[in-house]
Amino acid sequence: MNIRVRLFASLRERLQLDQVELSAEGLTTVADVWQALTGEPWSRQVLAAVNWEYALPETEVKAGDEVAFFPPVTGG
């Protein structure tokens, strides 16, 4: 099974990617998913969520999870 990755706002535009499925193989943490997606090390500018809840770069991920990356929020 895969991990579904979603991107939002300026991050979505910069990476020109809305959502994608990655094989869960070899992906243990949020930071792993980010690296697999972008080829970049973890960035402190990025916020992450796993299954619609805020997560840290070291938060574990597994097949079937939805992982999201997005910039600082500006609602309200």
Partner: protein, 142 residues
């Protein structure tokens, strides 16, 4: 408690009035509310319109978590949160937060907490349309 995302313009005072009809008269002594409205000016620039992007699924949940935290902390009677998403015009309401309580202290405190937490945590992103192009709004402290 009610948390709603709306893709169309809304009248915050009509929503407040309609929601309050559901509460028992005589129970609440205080209602503190906040309405955030789109301005036509930001960071020195004229803003013609705005698009509010959100993370379907997480946005509602995070709003619900914030209201739940506030409820646990202040034990108010009821709360209503409405947030716009999508295309927004200057003068349009963006967000309504209202808290009903027996006394004014918890109503004020919880209302402000929800507004501040919403700004800090709820996955929503504003993109402004200026005369010379578009830009993503950057987070600020005010």
């Amino acid at each position: 408690m009610a948390v709603t995302l709306l893709a169309k313009p809304f009248d915050p005072w009509a929503e407040l009035c309609a929601y309050q009809e559901r509460l028992k008269r005589g129970d609440y002594g205080a209602c503190a509310s906040f309405v955030g409205t789109m301005r036509d000016f930001n960071q020195g620039d004229l803003v013609e319109a705005m698009f509010l992007e959100h993370y379907p699924g997480m946005t509602e949940r995070e709003l619900g978590r914030i209201v739940g935290e506030a409820s646990a902390r202040w034990g108010f009677l009821d709360a209503l949160v409405i947030h716009r998403v999508g295309e927004i015009r200057p003068g349009d309401p963006i967000v309504l937060v209202a808290v009903w309580s027996a006394h004014r202290g918890p109503a004020f405190d919880a209302c402000r907490f929800i507004v501040e937490a919403l700004k800090a945590r709820v996955p929503l992103w504003k993109k402004e349309k200026l005369p010379r192009g578009v830009r993503w709004v950057r987070p600020s402290q005010s």
